[in-house]
Every structure is written in C-alpha cells, then in structure tokens.
C-alpha cells in the first residue's frame, strides 16, 4: 500500500455502494450525525431526533446514548483538530512495529531472493524462488498435456482461498444470528455480556487441546457414532465424521466462529434502540428495520469479523493435521514443510504470496465496508 496524500483515499472513501449517495462526505454534519436517518422513509429533522433521544436510553455496550446535534457541530470543522496529537498517539505502536515487524519482514523479503543451499540459505539475488513458485515444470510448454495447469503452489493458494471463503461464509451465517440475539433480544446488559462471554470460553483453551478434543466426538468410536449405533440409525460406525472435509470444517468453524461473534455483537449493541422504536412507530416492518437500519449499522462489525476469520483461515496450518488427518495442504502447511527442511527462501516466497493474497482480501472487505466512518 502506498502512502496517499489524499486522506479520503484508501479505506476512508469506502462506503457501501448502496448508501454512498446518502452518507458521503458532502452531507452536512448534522444529518450525518444519526448516520442512519438519512435514509428515505425516516425522520430527517433534528427536532424529531431530539425528541426521540429525550427518553432515557439504555447505555449500549460500546457507545453512549446519542445526543442531539447542536450548533457545536456546525462550528466543529472550523476549529483546530481536537484530541491528543496524532504523532504522540501513533509513536509507540509505530516504533514497536518497525523494530519487531518491519525489520524482520524486510529481512524475510530479502531472504526470498537468496539462494537455498539445502541446509539454509546464502546471500544472492535471484528470482529463481519466485519462478519456482509461479511456473510449474512444463507450464506453457505446449508439448505437455497439462501445459496450462498452474503450479502446485498457486493451486494450493487458490484452494486455500476457496476453502477460506466457504468456512468464512459458514462462520458469518452462524455468528450473525447469535450476535443479533445477544444484542437485540437480551435486554439486560449484564446478561448480554454473560451470555457472550460464555460462548467465548472455549476460545480460551489452547487450540492444540481443542482440536484434539474433536477426536472423541467424531471418531469411528466417537460419541456421535456410538449414539447413532445405539439408537439404531446406523449399523456400522460412519467414518466420514472424522478425517474428512466435514470434520475439518466443523473444527475450523468451532475454532474461529467466536472471532466473528465479537465484533458483530459490538456493533449491534451500539445501535440506538430509540431509532428502532421510531422506525417501528412509523410503520416499518421488522424486515425493513433490519434491512435499512440494523444491517447497515452492523456492517463494520461484520467486516471486522470477516477480516479476523479470513486472515486466520488463510494462515491455518495446524488444524488439518489433527482433524483432517493431514489429507490436504494449505499454503500454511507448504510454508511449514519448506521451513522444516531449511529451505527458508522458498518458504519466504510462499509467505509473501500468502500475504499478498490476504492483503487483497482485506482491501476488498474494506472496499465494501468503511470501518472508519465518523458521525
């Protein structure tokens, strides 16, 4: 990502296409304030909003009860930028990342041009590793029957990506209703938090242990098979429960779904209830309310959950061995196998390609949803 001088470029300008005309920068601050109430059927006057917020609103998890816009808003943009100075805020983290992330990352990048010696690497400047990543033997050689087949590393990256999308989709489908339930159906904040943390708990057990714990559930002699045999549903234990794509997806979803529940829950909990009430009073159907208010307002949470899960799954290398019996390879496992035979340059090339793929995914997600939207 190159530095852009225009601050609105990159992630700032990313507004969902549907709403871009309504909530873009040109809208006066007072109307952006509610964020949502710029949509067609809703109230658009400051007076109405003020009335709505007059009643005591419950404090959401992350935000304050909304306050009616005042004249302050109008003045705001003429004032010096308030808050702590940016350099002070970003200095510690930037310094930390420079030393502990960018220097190593840069050295890995350098390594990717070095030559593998079979027992490590030696300084050189060669594109050989990149060539080996992209070009398979016989690629573009018309005499070979499979001359258009991309190299195994590209195919692995592609299958990793495809699989990631599947699992991410499942995670989102499972996580959203749960987050919705917690934030919208459970009234008491204490209970919201308690129920949320309860589903978080398994996440605090080492994933090595959690992955192993699937075996007694799904195996040929596992609980599910025992149960099915006992009730007579099947005669012979089924083997596809474990060491199959099924178990792999199950385990991954169980491992990572919580990562999506959290952010979605946060952004849903922030939605001002009075807004929903108002919409309801004005005759919006529940589905309309969901589509027009809840969904758009929860998008940042969805986006963040997607980023978490996407990145985790793309880098996944440990779970397949335990629950899929190692019967697949991901770019993560490829990196590991070259790493463990001391071919660091080629592991580095794979790592960079993986990072590029992840970066594209994250940029894409942020193109869909602006997570930096202001009031």
């Amino acid at each position: 990502m190159r530095t852009t001088t225009s601050p609105s470029a990159g992630l700032n300008s990313l507004t969902p296409r549907r709403f871009s005309t309504l909530a873009n920068v040109s809208t006066p601050p007072a109307f952006q304030a509610g964020g949502v109430f710029v949509y067609d059927w809703r109230v658009t006057t400051v007076e109405n909003y003020a009335k709505l917020t007059d009643t005591a609103t419950p404090r959401g998890l992350l935000g304050a009860a909304p306050v009616a816009p005042t004249e302050v808003d109008a003045k705001r943009k003429y004032r010096r930028e308030p808050g702590f100075p940016v350099p002070i805020l970003i200095a510690p983290a930037t310094l930390w990342l420079t030393v502990f992330l960018f220097l190593p990352l840069f050295s890995i990048f350098i390594f990717s041009f070095w030559k593998a010696t079979g027992h490590g690497m030696t300084p050189a400047f060669t594109f050989e590793n990149y060539r080996a990543f992209f070009a398979s033997e016989g690629f573009f050689d018309p005499s070979k029957s499979d001359f258009l087949t991309p190299s195994i590393f590209i195919r692995t990256l592609w299958s990793t990506f495809r699989f990631t999308l599947t699992v991410m989709g499942i995670c989102l489908i499972l996580a959203y209703p749960l987050a919705y339930f917690l934030s919208m159906q459970v009234e008491n904040f204490k209970w919201q938090l308690a129920l949320f943390l309860f589903v978080m708990v398994p996440f605090w057990t080492s994933y090595l242990i959690r992955a192993v714990a699937w075996l007694p559930m799904l195996g040929r002699q596992g609980l599910i098979n025992e149960f099915l045999v006992t009730i007579g549903a099947i005669d012979e234990p089924l083997s596809f429960f474990l060491y199959s794509e099924f178990s792999y997806i199950m385990a991954l979803v169980q491992l990572y779904v919580v990562l999506a529940v959290g952010p979605i829950f946060f952004s849903l909990a922030k939605i001002d209830r009075t807004l929903l009430e108002a919409a309801r009073d004005m005759g919006a159907t529940p589905f309309q309310i969901f589509r027009e208010i809840i969904m758009p307002l929860s998008l940042p949470g969805v986006a963040i959950g997607m980023i978490f899960i996407f990145v985790m799954l793309m880098g996944e290398f440990a779970t397949a061995v335990v629950v899929y019996g190692g019967k697949t390879s991901t770019t993560g496992t490829v990196i590991l196998s070259y790493y463990s035979t001391a071919n660091y340059p080629f592991a580095a090339v794979n790592a960079f390609m993986l990072m590029v793929a992840m970066m594209i995914g994250v940029v894409f997600i942020l193109r869909l949803v602006d997570i930096r939207k202001e009031l």
Binding site: H119, G120, I152, R155, S239, V322, G325, S340, A342
Partner: protein
Amino acid sequence: MRVQKSKWSRRSFMKATAAGVATGMVGGFSRRASADEGLRSVGLGVSEINEIQGKATKDLGFPVAGQALGYGEMLSKILNQNDQYEIAEGYYHDLTFYQPAKVLQPLDTKKIKDWDKVTNLCKTGKLTPESSVGQGQAPYTMMWCDENGTRVQKESQYVIMVPAFHNADSMGYNPKATKRPIESWSELLNKDWKGKVGLLNVPSIGVMDCAMAVEALGLKKFANKGNMTKAEIDYMIEYLIPLKKAGHFRAFWENFGQSVNLMVNGEVVLESMWSPAVAAIQAEGVPCNYAFPKEGMRGWHGGLSVSAKVKGKQLDQAYEYINWWLAGWPAAFVARQGYYHSIPDNAKKYLEPEEWDYWYDGKAAAKDLPDPFGTITIKKGESRSGGSYWNRYSKIAVWNSNMDENDYLTKRWTEFLNS
C-alpha cells in the same frame, strides 16, 4: 500396580495442587544463574525428559536444563540458534542440515570414555560382521568428520554427533482386525486395508515407506530409497495419488501421540509407526503388533552434539554429560520406552535381568514390566516382534534420510496431499 490405589482424596489433591502451583510459580521464573554455568539441552520428548536431565544434574553436580520441542521446532532451533543451547540431541539424517551450516562442533572421541564400546552399527553400519548395510543416510556415513567439523567418509578421531539412542521402524497393526500377521511392507498399500491405513506425514520418510512397499510388490526397484531421483519421486507420487483419491489412507500423522491415537481409536488397522507406540497402544488395552517385514526395517539414529559456540569449562561439562549418557542410566531409561542404546552393555548394567531379556534379547517378559514412569505397560509373557536387538539391526533396509531432491519431493508431496 501403583495406579490402582489412587483413590480420590480431596485433601491429597488439594495438597498436590498447591504444591503444583508453587513449583509452577518458582519454575516459571527460575533461570539458570548465568549462561556459562551448566548446560542447556534441546531435543524431542524422546530424550528431553525431566527425569533424565534431573538425574544428570544430580549425578554431575552442575545444572542440566532440558528443553523438549516438536520436531520442526527442534530442527529450526538447532540450525538457527546455536547460541541458545549447548547440547543438541538430534538425529543423524538431519546432519544434512546441521553439518554444512557449521552449527555443531567436532567432538574428540578420545575424550569419550566408552568410545570403544560403541557398537559397529554406528561406526561401520554393520552391527555384526554378517549384517547388511542399509541404504540412505546411515549414521556411519554422516558421523565422521575432521577436526574442523567437515564430514569425512572414513573412521576418524572426530565425530559430529555421538550416537546414543536409536530404533528401527516399520508398521504397527491391530492383529484382531487384520486377522493375519503383517510380514511385508507391501501390506501398506494393500487394498484389503483400504480406508484404514495411516502414514507418516514427513515427505522423505513417508515416501520411503511407500517405496519399500512398491519394491516389495515387485513394481519397481530403487537404486537408493534413501536418495531418490526425480524420476523415482515422480513414479511414487503418480502411484500414490490414485490411491489417496480412492480413499486408501485414513490419515497422515505427524507426531507420536497422533499415531497412538489412530490405532487406539480404531481409525486405522495398519500404519507406519515408531515402535514405542506399540507399548503405548497396548497400555490402553488395544491389541497391537509390530511388523518385522522381511524386506527389512527403516532405521533411525539419534545422538548428542555440542554447539559450535561452546568452549572452555562448558565444553568439559558437555563431554561429562555425553559420557554420562553413554554410561548407561539414561540408556536403561529410554530402553523402557523401547529405544535402544549405542552401548547395549552399559544399558544392561542399569536394567533388571527380566527387562534386559525383554527389551534387548527379544525374550518373553518373565514378569510385568513398567515403562520409565512406573506404569506397567508390558504384561508377563509378551514379547517384542522382531526378536533380539541383534536380529533386528542385522537387517536395516534403509535409514531415515534427507534426500538431495528434498525440495522437489516436498513439492510433489504437496501435490499428493492436495489431490
């Protein structure tokens, strides 16, 4: 049996927990006083066992701290951080990486007390004069070096790794399920066991096991299974991909624990396996035999090396530790897990006669025998498949190896897994 009396008592449990937490607190922080006092050793859970390093600390009078790691982590640490350990308890075939990288130092055999007693299996590859020499990276091809640490292919005064523990691997099987003894590597690819076969997921070793099977089936002859050519690797992968697609393999395992679980859970009836897994599986009440294939076993050998960074007093201590390892106490300890030692006579000193008869002589156990931690794993009357130590090691078909075409193999193996 010790475990039987373990009746739940709340008090003893609380006491144990409290003690545990306390030792945890102390252990969490305690570090050796300084980096030039005592030894740090890295290796696998095979030899980095608290009781071994604890006993060494007691016997030698200086602290020996063991750090157990997984295989990949161990290799990477030995190769990249030789300032982070003094002793590396590694494996001969991995000298492919360590030796040219010069991370380990040559060890003078004159300073090793029992060097003369070390078996010829390590020194010449032939345990007995009649033994055949296995293909691949046998210890004797990797071990010898000159005083600069450069590998030489003849006996010399210096070695890069002092042989300590070793074993020969083949396949484990559940005799109740197979209903017949397994006597050839070809069984690994036998369609009778479709969907119930496990394979080691380390490309170089996995492909060797399968090559052994292909050879046993009479399909192809390999010049050196321990160092295959690209064409041979291609042949193997092309042969294996349809098998995998047909669902022949239940799982590929990566660590000892997984291989045990596969058999115990009834997921596989036959798998490539490390021999100590047999005892672990039997300990859970699942029948398991170890195959002694007529083609020979796949051997591996581990040993002790010293980081190139070590010198002075610490180097002396390193030699002391190596001598202590060879003297026999740890040999007996690892023997109870099924591993062999490079000086069997020294192991004998620390083993009870019944243990010696069972583990080394291949005789039926004259009484119940414990594992190193005191749990009874061997029942009276059982015996090891493959017979005596000398019988087993006279027929090593191939040694664990890292091939010249390792990168190509890794690539094709990825393709195999992804098919």
